[in-house]
Symmetry: none
Subunit: 305 residues, 2 copies
DNA sequence: GTCGACTCGGGTAATTCGGGTC
DNA sequence: AATGTCCGAATTACCCGAGTCG
């Protein structure tokens, strides 16, 4: 997928004339780079930001290598959840992609899409499977499709700035459900973090090593399956004791029952991705304010994060 | 880090054509040195100065931190395997992506990239882990990165034609290693199949249901971990008996020992993705010839696949 | 010295520039 | 005030045989 677009491509995608695009660039309405010869180049992510703002309408996304819009009015996230649930069951990957991208282009926050559309639909499929109305392979295929879409969304988020705070996360040993941690990474990246999901099935010792090496300011754990609760608690506690001061621990996932949470220490428990997003935002605001004060005192423009 | 860059490397990093870079050099927009034979060499520092000026936009900065990238054929793939191994260990996702995409742009077959670069590098990381030279999280993170790259490559393959033959596959119950089946899907799609990976951890009963519903002409099983060999054999045999006539069964993966294979029936055992690719191609050629003969007889241009 | 892959230079087709006008 | 269309000049992308690099 091309990351740099010519005015002509943008014009086709927005269904306007080329001159209009050029004028908008010249007026600063669209961030523009120039080649050495003076030709305009527009970054795809910059364009998508404006589209999501509602400033421009993307009539022909396929001109940019993006999935085509369905054209139908997006009757809200709830209906999208139902429609994508059906599409996932059928394995209609392209239709799923359309639904999600429609929502993204309509400026729905990724966290809300994760919670109210994707998680919702997957949950529904899980229920059907429990009642014998769906095959296991349909559920697995649905997870595959969602994972692919999450990865595609990730490439569409503008790269985090150099000085962005770092975040690290994953799932613990015995937990092989990657969607949660993948969503967390995506949502944090949208919020402007340098977030890295380490993957699934990670023993506490290696998580400690990763924390030691990277020293992130946020650390998330997605818990969808806990085979041995006492072992889990023990591993978690040692992890928290050695690194809980330096990094903000965020935990979430269906496997964290109330009684389990009662025996854990953490900076935040996030039931949903939207909780994670708002927690991350408040954390970042706070650290910005602190580093801002530092700058005021020292008159030093160097950033420290 | 290589200090001198070729026009090709610069072109890829800036996402412009090679001739543009050459013209800019000739016009003095980029300071240029020359080899004795008249080949242009651009100093990394000279380029970075212009990038900071905002005169050029560095779309793919990773390309510059590297020795000459693109496919020096076999030597290229082997070296790429080593280089991507290091990048995977460090978690340098962008660098990994650049290495793989360079190979793709140099027209290396995806199957060869999977076998000789990605699998090679992952294997090496596995060895290091066994010897205590690598952390578990580095290995998991490497798998995550490779999976993302595979998904991105998938979006770059043109959609298969309507009448393409179908293929289905996945991993069996207890096997949670998705890279093998994801690579298989990718390679088959490159070969023009409508290939769908159903995911991992699939009980035989649901695989049977999927085969029953979709009736593919090829069915692959990736086997990287077999917790219970007798259960596996039993499940596989019942699957093969009911659907082995209709679909070509292809099996592969490290977990398939010689003794296990001796007790299995299949159309092909594929040690590597390149085997899978050539098997799929020969299968398709054969079916094309058959349907071609039919057309000769009936003078009917309708395809049947 | 051989060899494959890369680069050179030049030519051509397609695209984009800026400006003027509707 | 904003958009779409037209224009010659300039820029960029693609192509190819000969020469260079490692």
């Amino acid at each position: 997928m091309r990351e740099q677009l010519t005015p002509k491509q943008v014009a086709r995608a927005l269904e306007v004339s080329e001159s209009s695009v050029k004028r908008w660039c010249d007026r600063g309405l669209i961030p523009t780079q120039y080649t050495a010869g003076g030709h305009r180049r527009i970054a795809l992510s910059d364009l998508l930001v404006r589209v999501r703002d509602g400033r421009y309408r993307l009539v022909h996304p396929e001109a940019l290598g993006l999935p085509p819009t369905s054209g139908r009015s997006l009757g809200g996230r709830q209906r999208a959840g139902q429609r994508i649930g059906e599409a996932l069951l059928e394995g209609a990957e392209q239709r799923c992609r359309q639904i999600v991208f429609d929502l993204v282009l309509a400026d729905q926050p990724l966290a809300a899409i994760c919670d109210e559309v994707l998680a919702e639909a997957l949950c529904e499929i899980g229920h059907r499977w429990e009642q014998g109305e769906a095959e296991v392979y349909q559920e697995r295929r649905a997870c595959e499709i969602v994972l692919r879409i999450l990865h595609e969304l990730r490439t569409m988020i503008p790269a985090p700035p150099e000085d962005a705070p770092e975040a690290l996360g994953g799932t613990m040993a015995g937990d092989r459900y990657v969607l949660g941690t993948t969503m967390a990474e995506l949502v944090l990246r949208e919020a402007g973090w340098k977030a890295i999901s380490l993957g699934d099935n990670l023993p506490a010792s290696t998580l400690a090593a990763a924390l030691q090496t990277h020293r992130p300011s946020l650390f998330w754990l997605s818990c969808s399956h806990i085979p041995d609760e006492t072992a889990f608690l023990q591993a978690y506690q040692s992890l928290y004791q050695s690194h809980g001061q330096r990094a903000a621990f965020v935990v979430g996932g269906n496997a964290l029952t109330e009684s389990l949470r009662g025996q854990m220490q953490y900076a935040s428990y996030c039931d949903k991705m939207q909780h994670l997003a708002s927690f991350a935002n408040s954390l970042q605001r706070m650290s910005n304010r602190i580093s801002g004060e530092k700058h005021d005192e020292s008159q030093n423009p160097t950033l420290e994060n």
